[in-house]
Amino acid sequence: MSGRVLVGVKRVIDYAVKIRVKPDNSGVVTDGVKHSMNPFCEIAVEEAVKLKEKKLIKEVVAVSCGPQQSQETIRTALAMGADRGIHVEVAGKDYETLGPLQVSKIMAALAKKEDAQLIILGKQAIDDDCNQTGQMTAALLDWPQGTFASEVSLDGDKVKVVREIDGGLETIKISTPAVLTADLRLNTPRYATLPNIMKAKKKKIANVKPADLGVDLTSRLEVLKVEEPPQRQAGVKVETVEDLVGKLKETGRI
């Protein structure tokens, strides 16, 4: 086995920033807005680096698809312990329509090219909340998948994954190569400290174009409109249960 792990990291709008819809309702304002690495991607990077520190895998490669600024996100992953980075350049219109289908095609192509043993992704991105890229990548590669992982342990050429599911926790054993997606409780990501950021400047980030990987970026989806959620209406206080029932009947709820 190559001992190589691909980790996908996505640059998203920081979770604390108040989002603003563009005046033409075509999307969300991103210019100059604070961006950071998707929190679930941070957890994915941390897991990969932990595996390397336990000497269970040999190399961690951080991958990001996006414009120039995605390189900053890859730098952060390098500072957390990834060995090298791959920046798949997607800009302009292509970037606006970039979604899980396109990214999973890219990840599948890279996995074959890099002879990866594992792909670790965040379970979902906090901007689109799709929760699809990991699953689609596994399907395209015909690899087993361990999604919503809250615990991962490597055992020879098998991986034991404890998954967080609606009913509780499910433990599965899958064979490598495999795709894992990280859930919240998998680990606590380490900080990217300044000495590591400085060292990361010396690590390589390769530039790749989707065309070089033979990936077609055309989107099957067209965004018609983006709107803010409706303003929350003020509630009405009622004094007694009878009032409540009366009001519910009035508005046709019961």
Binding site: A16, V17, K18, G32, T188, Y191, T193, L194, I197, M198
Partner: protein
């Protein structure tokens, strides 16, 4: 929580026993020192857990934790990625390239990206940028809005008295540009990176390092991974040390490291204490019909009384969208503890001259920052062995013009020019390990910065008279406009802003109108708009020297002014869980790093220290 009368004696004893159990488990140091000091029977819950107040070498939880720091050497380290710091870095690299010398310049900035903590009106005077980059237009500097109209008013509750903007008056803006300073700073950052400056946003300078001879050796960045109670987490890591021949401190108004340096090197022994104001700002997307790009509006008067210094600004930007930047400044030497600068700002927007511009518009940004008003009288000694101060940190703001960016940039450039020959010299000719560069202060005295600040030095202090605002305007008219500041005397300020508050019992509460949700807004939704956030599990960076002082003094005498002057709702006096008495709750995550609390706290008990780098507001082009 449980009214004593409702329970039997036994139950009461039981409840009290249950309540004492938690205290036994916590470290004894939490309560003992406070119990010895306070004579009241109510024990003050512990508020401050930061290591600057509770040192870690005496803390048992830190035993055995690796405290070694990784160190690196640079030629110059700059603290602060604002106009001053970036101009200094750029100038240094320009000189290095000119003279074909190698120079490692490292800049650390606490914001996660350059420009994210920058907030200003702003009307930029291009004098400094013309010197730094004569070709700024070709380089794409975001100066898109030349000032076309300049309007000044004195407001009364319902009316407006226009004041003609005669050429020669300090507020006259012909030739200046309305800019979104955050975008300008971001552009400066890009220029700096191109020139080879190493920029490290997201890393705050938390500690000044000293050589054995007492000169400044450099800085250390913040530690990460300390829990809210002050104990180390699994992800704890020490900050990094950056050593330099000279360290430039450009932390902006009321920097926390500068505060330490003033004490250590006695830099303030021959100057007056700095006086400040708080500036609150919003950016609105307005109705296109109301948009007049290039229009600059300033006002004084309502809603402030004639003894409270302050006023408003409203600038129409011209960057494609109908945006206006508007805000309100209140001098922090105000005396009424019931005054809330935030609420003054909100009610000013309802004035008949202002509200029509905002009607039908949308608020898209909010923020606040302290600014300095001391001028020349409050300038400290600028240089010390191993370092120097630049920008708004020592304070070069031209108060009547309300402009400090051009002077901050010039101070950074002059500092760079002064230290360049010294740091690139073949042999370091210095008595101390850290270089002392007094030539910087000399250069500043001979520059246009000094001439400009000298001419306006008496305008701000002239407001301290019986007629307040009107006396000040008359003084400005005579001595500045006609005589150009050549009068032979220099007026003094009133002393520390923190000492100006009168006790609450001598003042009347102000009846502020409720926000209407369309033009005026409440505090918490405003704070959300600043995008501010901090890692929740870290010690509060608003540290108190003495945890019992807020309730014992601030609340008791001044009715807790920090609940009103903080523009982010960090300070709240909430009832104690036991039912009797209040306690101070510090919502550190809301902090927008404005520094007003450190300035205005009447007990000077609050010490703002830098939180984990990357935290704080996420301003976008403010």
């Amino acid at each position: 929580m449980f009214p004593a009368s409702r329970y039997s004696c036994q139950a009461h004893r039981c409840i009290r026993a249950l309540k004492t159990v938690p205290t036994e488990h916590t470290a004894p140091q939490l309560y003992t020192t406070l119990h010895r000091r306070t004579c009241s029977s109510v024990s003050t819950p512990r508020i401050t857990t930061h290591y600057t107040v509770h040192p870690r070498d005496k803390d048992s939880r830190w035993e055995g934790v690796e405290m070694e720091r990784f160190a690196d050497e640079a030629d110059v380290v700059i603290v602060g990625g604002g106009p001053a710091g970036l101009s200094a870095a750029i100038r240094l690299k320009q000189l290095a390239n000119e003279h074909e010398k190698e120079l490692r310049v490292c800049l650390v900035e606490k914001a996660s990206q350059i420009g994210a903590h920058t907030l200003s009106g702003a009307c930029l005077e291009p004098s400094a940028i013309n010197e730094l980059f004569p070709d700024w237009k070709e380089r794409g500097a975001p100066l898109h809005t030349p000032v076309t109209e300049d309007v000044f008013s004195i407001l009364t509750e319902k009316h407006r008295i226009p004041v003609p903007m005669l050429p020669g008056l300090p507020m006259q803006n012909h030739g200046n540009y309305i800019v979104r300073l955050g975008n300008f700073v971001r552009w400066l950052g890009e220029q700096a990176e191109e020139l080879g400056v190493e920029l490290y946003p997201g890393y705050a300078a938390a500690e000044v390092l000293f050589h054995e001879d007492g000169s400044v050796k450099g800085i250390a960045t913040n530690d990460v991974g300390i829990a809210k109670d002050g104990s180390p987490k699994d992800v704890f890591e020490r900050g990094m040390e950056l050593h330099a021949k000279v360290t430039m401190f450009g932390e902006g108004c009321h920097g926390h490291l500068a505060k330490q340096l003033y004490k250590k090197f006695n830099l303030r022994e021959n100057c007056e204490p700095q006086t400040y104001a708080i500036g609150l700002k919003e950016v609105w997307m307005i109705d296109e019909k109301k948009w007049r790009p290039g229009r600059v509006e300033h006002s004084v008067g309502w809603p402030l009384n004639r003894h409270t210094y302050g006023g408003s600004f409203l600038y129409h930007l011209n960057e494609g969208e109908p945006l206006v930047a508007l805000g309100f400044v209140v001098g922090l030497d105000y005396s009424n503890p019931y005054l809330s600068p935030f609420r003054e700002f909100q009610r000013w927007k309802h004035h008949p001259f202002v509200a029509p511009t905002l009607e039908g518009g949308n608020r898209i940004a909010y923020g606040a920052r302290a600014l300095n008003e001391g001028g020349i009288q409050s300038l400290p000694k600028l240089t010390f062995p191993g370092g120097l101060l630049i920008g708004c940190s020592p304070g070069f703001m031209n108060v009547p013009k309300i402009k400090g960016t051009h002077t901050a940039m010039k101070s950074g450039m002059l500092a760079a020019e002064a230290i360049f020959p010294k740091v690139t010299a073949e042999s370091l000719d210095s008595e101390t390990a850290g270089l002392h560069v007094p030539e910087y202060a000399e250069a500043l005295k001979n520059s246009w910065v000094w001439k400009e600040l000298y001419a306006v030095r008496n305008i701000r202090p002239s407001f301290h008279n019986y007629f307040g605002l009107y006396g000040g305007m008359v003084y400005t008219g005579i001595f500045y406009w006609i005589l150009r500041g050549k009068e032979p005397w220099t007026l003094k300020h009133c002393g520390l802003d923190a000492n100006q508050l009168k006790p609450a019992k001598d003042c009347t509460p102000i009846d502020y109108p409720k926000p209407d949700g369309k033009i005026s807004f409440d505090l918490l939704s405003s704070v959300a708009l600043s995008g501010t956030n901090h890692e929740g599990d870290q010690p509060a960076h608003l540290t108190l020297k003495d945890d019992s002082v807020p309730v014992a003094r601030n609340l008791a005498i001044y009715d807790g002014p920090e609940q009103r002057f903080c523009p982010a709702g960090v300070y709240e006096y909430v009832p104690l869980e036991t039912g009797d008495g209040m306690r101070l709750q510090i919502n550190a995550q809301n902090c927008v790093h404005c520094k007003t609390c450190d300035i205005k706290d009447p007990s000077q008990n609050i010490n703002w220290v830098v939180p984990e780098g990357g935290g704080g507001p996420a301003y976008n082009g403010m």
